[in-house]
């Protein structure tokens, strides 16, 4: 069965408009949680990881005509990250016509929809170009940018969505359906989402502190990240330089509660365990864990318990980069994938910012500073509502 190689990547988040800027911020321990929610929301006291550009500026970066049709912020972020991924893989559009595109988002063009919602509610005429509100819109706009025709779909499994997009891409390649796939996710902040998480009382009104004993909740973020993954044959045929290998993956369900993780972290535990089994490696071969680590009381305890159950006393160093970017929901898995690959290639593991003291039950301390390392195998976790639990394992190419 073919090895799955990552040959390109792109990312935009609150800490950088491309992979290099994200890398610099991670090295300099500069978080991006400077946003004050969104202009038409009254929840201004909540820090958010907002990408510091207007839609007009994003459209210019993406090279699209913002007046020609409706672009949701989700569309624009996605196109920018996808363009970088394609470019960094050294591909041109014609290389992609036979590729797959699998993109993830939780609320799609909600940023567009909610702004028109009040007008619709008042029975005013909605603008005739309001079509960008579903989850498939950003996917099709990205597909059409690159002329991707072979296979196009969208996934929404809450906060594990883009990890699952990467997984499906790998499975399509292994099954011989395609040689190459553009996989990842895109998510824009929306008043809908901010109010949703606020109503669940899991937002931190200060900067989040993942894995800390006194953590208060999560900060929301936005962004997009995409990978180009290829079969080993396709990559070597065109002389592509692999950035990493996708060694394993797993999708499990906690089946415990619609929004909360189980106290014993059973979904997280079995996702991580199955991932290592697929890769054929023992837990002690894992050098580092890019944790889901949202900063909520529930997730971080449950994930810590699952990590301890699997790794025991030999728990590898771990960190949550959500302390930099905020929780980017559907995009979290693909952003973490990019960060994991940076760690493998650049020899830097990134800090878990603002951690002060360990959770008593599990006594785990994450990586406190961005550190020089020489890691070969990194596990990345993404969990979400509906019990969705996914893990990915990346190895040095």
């Amino acid at each position: 069965m073919s090895r799955i190689l990552v040959t390109g990547m792109g990312a935009i988040s609150s800490i950088g408009q491309d992979v290099e800027e994200n890398y610099s911020s991670l090295c300099e321990e500069q978080h991006g949680l400077h946003g004050k929610a969104i202009p038409y929301s009254s929840l201004k006291h909540l820090p958010t990881g907002e990408v510091p550009f207007s839609n007009e500026q994003l459209a210019e970066k993406a090279g699209v005509d913002i007046d020609a049709q409706t672009w949701s912020r989700t569309d624009l972020l996605g196109i920018i990250a996808a363009q970088e991924a394609v470019q960094s893989a050294g591909l041109v559009d014609s290389d992609l016509s036979k590729a797959a595109l699998i993109s993830a988002t939780t609320v799609g063009g909600m940023d567009v929809y909610e702004q028109y919602h009040e007008a619709l509610r008042k029975k005013l005429d909605p603008p005739t170009n309001l079509i960008a509100y579903d989850c498939a819109d950003s996917t099709e706009k990205i597909a059409d940018q690159f002329g991707i025709m072979e296979f196009v779909t969208s996934i929404s499994t809450a906060c594990s969505s883009s990890a699952n997009a990467i997984m499906l891409g790998a499975r399509l390649i292994k099954a011989g359906k395609v040689d190459r796939a553009l996989v990842g996710g895109t998510e824009a902040l929306a008043r809908f989402t901010i109010n949703g998480f606020n109503s669940l009382k899991i937002l931190d009104d200060q900067l989040c502190q993942p894995f800390d004993k006194d953590r208060r909740g999560l900060n929301l973020g936005e962004g997009a990240a995409f990978l180009i993954i290829e079969s080993e044959e396709a990559a070597s045929k065109r002389g592509a330089t692999p950035l990493a290998e996708l060694l394993g993956y797993s999708n499990r369900n906690d089946a415990y509660h619609q929004t909360a993780s189980s106290p014993d972290g059973s979904g997280a535990f079995s996702a991580m365990k199955e991932t290592l089994e697929m890769a054929g490696i023992q837990p002690d071969a894992v050098d580092f864990i890019n944790a889901h680590g949202t900063g909520t009381g529930n997730n971080d305890l449950s994930e810590s318990i699952a990590i301890k159950r699997l790794f025991g006393k030999n728990t590898p160093p771990f960190s949550s980069t959500k302390s930099f970017t905020g929780h980017t929901l559907a995009t979290a898995g693909s952003i973490q994938a990019v960060f994991s690959i940076l760690t493998l290639n650049r020899g830097k593991a990134f800090a878990n910012l603002r951690f002060e003291s360990a959770i008593e039950e599990t006594d785990l301390t994450p990586l406190l500073e961005t550190t020089d390392v020489n890691y070969k195998v990194i596990l990345s976790n993404s969990f979400g509502f509906g019990g969705n639990s996914s893990s990915l394992l990346f190895g040095k190419a």
Binding site: A136, V152, S156, S199, N253
Partner: protein, 346 residues
Amino acid sequence: MYIHGAASISPLGNLQHSKNEALPYLESLEPDYAEIIAPRAMRRMGKAVKMGVYCGLKSLKEAGVDQPDRIIVGTGLGCMSDTEKFLNNIVDDQETLLNPTPFIQSTHNTIAGQIALMIKCESYNFTYVHRGFSFESALLDAELFLADNPSENILIGGVDAITPHVHNVGFKLGYAKGKVFDPEAFANPNGPGALLGEGSAFFSVSGEPAAEATKVKGLKMVYKPSTAEVLEAATDLIGETSIDMIVMGNSGDENEDSFYNTIAKTYPKASSAKFKSGVGEYHSATALGMWIGHELIQNGAVHKDIHIVDNREESSNGIDDFDANNVLIYNHFRGNNHGLILLGRA
């Protein structure tokens, strides 16, 4: 892939309700959900969740599967009624002290998640949300798993629910019709705009055959194709198989008919069942098309609300006695997402 259990909820048989209520779209004929879903669990569920969970659990029951190996759902818009409710609450309550329930329920993966929760299924759980590929993606995903391990039992389904708001947006944009009309009207071009509807269809499938089971012989998905590319996909899929019936996705929008007409002309001996005459258009409608094809193979009958073009040479039998061995399901969503599924006998 073989279908071992199937269940659906749709507007079939419920046209008069839309007429009586002067609704501009078709609404499902809903069952007594309490047969399958505990009332306490049901209280929080929106219509899409109820329809999905009911059909999911019912098809597992029919297949005699307690624990599927995987749960894979396709839904274009997810739980829109809860999305709308939460959006309204944000405005009405000025972003303070909101009830989180509609937000929780609005998440697209609520349907797959709720089924997993109710039967404590800790395995693979996926939700596809891609317009006219929502159900096709779920079917393809199952096909990939069954190619590796035919003994797995996988629950797949497609579900979407209509709301006044969804219709309103569609109508204003010219995608939706302003009123319902009779199935016979599907015999002729109907002007622009689709007849909107809703529905849910779930299947418990496995790679292992059973006597009398419907076989899913193949699937093709084509994105933004030319007519020639659709024909190529159909030829690839069908080969020399003799098709008895094509379950067609004509939405009532005459601008979308040309692809269907081409396929119908290419297989002149096959009859057609324009299923959206009784179901309406929605993102994951192909799932219901597959349910109709499955029913046809199992029972030889098509619901009276479905417009039939009967091309049989010996048409002595009525449409309630249709001996179909091979059925093609062909559906496209606004010309962009084309799905073709070939069903036959085990």
